[in-house]
């Protein structure tokens, strides 16, 4: 049951043109563009600084924006109610979505990783393992936030808000412009955002000595708070 549910959700995401644009095409375009074109000044090799940003963006795109929009419309179409009326236990209703979300993130990171390798990225094994852990925590935190948004409001409002928040976090949430390049007071706040924490964590894991505890704690904190609130506010329709 769990696998059938997760498989269906994964297939639907990968088949949806807008989702593919959001989760794969935009991150790939940014990965290639920021690496090859000198729009913002980055230390050489540029790809090493671009990868953490693009990985964070990819996780945010699918786990938060993609999940919120899909959930908003699934509720509109009565899917949750349909599945909730079957013998599928409640935890599997959530579990299937989580598993599908993690599968999509895994596909994104593999595709983006291969593109980055072609562009000359050469990560250490330790960095990659930390990145996988951070990506899972990031996906769960952003996923819980996505469910919080998509599970409460009307589908059209979810669509608008999820895209606006995506754009704001991309530009001002520590992804394109890193927290370190921001005014000090602002930087402290950005590092506490899930977007900022994920970007910093992946960057420190791949290009520094390790992510440190702060990004991990921030992602876990957002995930737990969002999940607890979402469990209370999410409605089936």
């Amino acid at each position: 049951m769990l696998l059938a549910h997760a498989r269906t959700e994964t297939k639907l995401t990968l088949r949806n043109g807008e989702q593919v644009l959001l989760t794969l095409l935009i991150p790939i375009a940014l990965l290639v563009g920021l690496t090859l074109i000198d729009i913002i000044s980055l230390p050489e090799p540029r790809v090493n600084s671009v990868v953490p940003r693009v990985f964070a963006l990819a996780v945010m795109s699918s786990a938060f924006t993609g999940q919120a929009i899909a959930l908003g419309f699934d509720r509109r179409y009565g899917v949750l109610k349909r599945l909730a009326a079957t013998a599928l236990p409640r935890w599997m209703l959530v579990g299937g979505r989580v598993l599908a979300g993690l599968t999509v993130v895994a596909i994104q990171l593999v595709v983006l990783g291969v593109v980055a390798l072609v562009l000359g990225w050469s990560p250490s094994l330790g960095g990659v393992l930390w990145t996988v852990l951070l990506a899972v925590l990031g996906a769960l935190a952003f996923g819980a936030l996505g469910v919080l948004l998509g599970g409460t409001l009307r589908a059209e409002i979810v669509l608008a808000l999820a895209n606006i928040i995506w754009f704001v976090l991309l530009l001002a949430g520590g992804i394109i412009v890193r927290a370190g390049s921001m005014p000090s007071g602002f930087a402290g706040v950005v590092e506490l955002l899930p977007s900022g924490a994920l970007t910093e964590g992946v960057d420190l894991a791949l290009n520094g000595g390790g992510p440190g505890w702060q990004p991990l704690a921030v992602l876990v904190g957002w995930g737990v708070v969002a999940a607890v609130v979402a469990a209370r506010t999410t409605r089936l329709t």
Binding site: A4, T8, F73, D74, G78, A85, A87, L236
Partner: protein
């Protein structure tokens, strides 16, 4: 018979459900015997869907006792859900999912599902197998939803307006399915506002309005309670002066032009009354068309009980 065989499939007593200051269901009583078809009939907003959703375990009742297959749908939902089939009102699939995929997914949630290809074939959906849900016609979406309700071999199905949006062919198909279900011993609780549907399918009709039961019984019981309210209907030129006819009819019979050109004589309709009416028509030089003597229709009963205003 053992106790479980005689226990009703659905038993609702004193059910109350409020939304804020609105009382959607107000002390409703309901009993569906095993293997029977019960139609919940009522105008929009009468509380039909709320009642069904309480029985399915989606809504928590504010008061009253609800037992479905002997179980409490809220507290024992995990035990109940594998045994029931649910067709919600509208929707029930991912917008981008193909019809076949959706049914397979729901089938995968059941312990011993029906063959999905067979079920799609029976419901005339084989050529829509690979069509995304949002491109299916309204009637196809409804049939897929019915398939999802039936694929788990339920003992009891809840069908919330199962034929809305269907063309007459699809409606007949669904009616045949429901009759077949009853033949297999499956209990069916359906809501509808189609009188013909209730009359054709139901063993027991419950008319609800403002969250209460206003009448119930078999379709025959509901429409033949009173021998003095038989009807003779006919069509003729509009605007005939019926005062002479009224005078000629026996006491207790009334005639009225119910709609333009449709005349209804109400009362104890006997051969003498029919003869009086046709004689009067001959005097007027008009031909009475579609002359029909019969009991009241379920629609008449329904409108009488729930009023004629739009809601």
């Amino acid at each position: 018979m053992s106790a479980s065989e005689t226990r009703p499939a659905v038993e609702v007593s004193g059910l109350v459900k409020r939304y804020g200051s609105t009382t959607a269901v107000d002390g409703l009583e309901l009993r569906l015997a095993q293997g029977k078809v019960l139609a919940l009939l009522g105008p929009n907003g009468a509380g039909k869907t709320t009642t069904v959703e309480v029985c399915e375990g989606f809504l928590r009742p504010d008061a009253g006792r609800v037992r479905v297959l002997g179980l409490d749908p809220r507290a024992e939902g995990d035990k109940l859900r594998p045994r029931i089939g649910v067709m919600p009102q509208g929707g029930g699939a991912y917008p981008g999912v193909r019809a076949g995929e959706m049914l397979k997914l729901v089938a995968s949630c059941a312990a011993n599902p029906l063959d999905t290809d067979w079920l799609l074939d029976v419901l005339g959906l084989t050529n829509a197998l690979r069509t995304p849900y949002k491109r299916l016609s309204g009637g196809q979406q409804q049939r897929l939803s019915l398939a999802c309700a039936l694929v788990g071999r339920p003992e009891l199905v809840f069908l919330d307006e199962p034929t809305s949006g269907m063309d007459p062919q699809a409606r007949r198909l669904v009616w045949d399915m429901i009759c077949a279900l009853r033949g297999d011993g499956v209990s069916v609780l359906l809501t509808t506002h189609l009188m013909e549907e209730a009359e054709t399918l139901a063993d027991h009709v419950v008319i609800v309005d403002h969250g209460r039961v206003v009448a119930e019984g078999s379709p025959t019981q509901l429409t033949t309670e009173d021998p003095d309210t038989q009807q003779l209907r006919f069509k003729a030129r509009p605007g005939l002066d019926t005062s002479l006819l009224t005078a000629a009819l026996p006491e207790g019979c009334h005639v009225a032009e119910a709609a333009l050109g449709t005349y209804i004589v109400t009362g104890r309709v006997d051969p003498q009354v029919v003869s009086t009416v046709t004689a009067w028509c001959a005097q007027q030089g008009v031909l009475a068309e579609e002359l029909h003597v019969g009991r009241r229709s379920l629609e008449d009963v329904f409108l009488e009980l729930t009023g004629r205003e739009l809601r």
